[in-house]
Amino acid sequence: MLQKIYDWIDDRVDITPIWRDIADHEVPEHVNPAHHFSAFVYCFGGLTFFVTVIQILSGMFLTMYYVPDIENAWKSVYYLQTEVAHAQIVRGMHHWGASVVIVMLLLHTLRVFFQGAYKKPRELNWMVGVLIFFVMLGLGFTGYLLPWDNKAYFATQVGLEMAQQVPFIGEQLKILLAGDASIVGAQTLTRFFAIHVFFLPAALFGLLAAHFILIRKQGISGPL
């Protein structure tokens, strides 16, 4: 049955080459931990993506309960933590995943750096990767405010004060992020929510797609 459905679709749109392109390639010995245990360093990139997937899935479930307004944001997180079945685990995964993804990203970056794997012809993919790092830091900064507890509020206030000191565009930058020239409040929370849930993930998906397409296109760098 499934084979028939597959054949029916394949007959019309020729999907086999699409997934075969991903499936049919050889994994060289020097990146395979089964042959050289030290090759586990090549796992860091994949594990970063794995944690990213965890972040996306747990985040999707968190938005089912989270309310981005200053009256209810903290209450909804408190409710999640104390009342909703297994929500403490889901929020725990999102909270710790935010830290673990930074750690894995750092390890992956260091692996690529110390192996000189960013050298010609892979300069572009390195830059895409560094941009992914920046987007992740942005996700960390905006996500930190969302529970609307004291540490979130005051950390964000400091962050916005720093944004304000940027020459020429500082004032505008702060208003863009906070929604007001002086108040860190309701507008700030909804803006950070929108940035955290829509803007930055959109940028992240685009960059990840570019990252992976470039890897397939160029292959993994050879052994040192």
Partner: protein, 258 residues
């Protein structure tokens, strides 16, 4: 251009073998055993992923994610602190050369230089050699940057008493206790107890909450007169009738919350 069947690629890449520019060395030029990605290698990857997931879930179960008290913009005593991966940037601003008149250097100059160099690393370190020994400047700079980040993060975090911070910033939901200010005993409460136990019986720095206590009316009256724990005797100074009204008032608040 040659397409489709018979096309030759370099290694596991999508770069045509017949094109001469930008070709990485073919894997067949390296001695070694390659393995098909699908399904052999992917199964092993899933295995590694499962082990990672077990460790990760253990972390989330052992350490439930923290939640502080609800944001209070009027709280002047709260010392702001960013998430740990921004601590090094925060700590940098405490140095004399990176704060005050030089704030832009500390906030934009140094981090901008470091992250800018990271972004443009392939162009700054553009020699042919890939081994760390063949590019001492790039590797040295990275080690220096890494050491600074670790040192700054450590310095910043070591000054913080994390337990005291968590203790000061506990998640306490808003009280839903209805206080009947018309009650006979409220005046006595206001006169004798409120300064320490708070307007909603919620407690304060010097006294515990009076909501959810398990005393009888007689015991409450006794405590009000003779004290308990850190509460000295003789705080209540009214008449016996007022004392009875007071204990009745505290009991009624407790009953209303049950």
């Amino acid at each position: 251009m040659h397409r489709g069947k018979g096309m030759k690629f370099v290694g596991d890449s999508r770069i045509s073998a017949t094109k001469t520019s930008q070709i990485p060395k073919d894997y067949s030029e390296y001695p070694g055993r390659t393995e098909a990605f699908w399904p052999n290698f992917l199964l092993k990857e899933w295995l590694a992923g499962s082990v990672f997931l077990v460790g990760f879930l253990t972390l989330t179960l052992v350490h439930p994610s923290p939640l502080g008290g609800i944001a209070d913009p009027t709280n002047a005593a709260f010392i702001p602190l960013p998430d740990w991966y921004f601590l090094f940037l925060y700590e940098l601003l405490k140095y004399e050369f990176a704060s005050g008149d030089y704030i832009l250097l500390g906030m934009l100059g140094l981090p901008g230089l470091a992250f800018g160099a990271l972004l443009l690393a392939p162009f700054l370190d553009n020699g042919p050699g890939r081994r760390p020994g063949q590019r001492p400047v790039a590797v040295g700079m990275m080690l220096l940057a890494l050491a600074s980040v670790v040192w700054l993060t450590y310095t910043s975090a070591s000054h913080v008493d994390w337990e005291a911070r968590a203790e000061m910033d506990k998640p306490i939901p808003e009280s839903e206790v209805a206080i009947d200010t018309e009650h006979d005993g409220y005046a006595a409460y206001e006169a004798s107890c409120m300064s320490c136990h708070g307007g909603n019986l919620e407690g304060g720095p010097a006294a515990p909450t009076l909501v959810g206590i398990e005393y009888t009316a007689e015991e409450i009256a006794d405590i009000a007169v003779n004290g308990i724990g850190g509460m000295p005797a003789g705080i209540f100074t009214g008449s016996d009738e007022e004392l009875e009204q007071l204990s009745d008032f505290i009991m009624s608040v407790n009953e209303s919350t049950e």
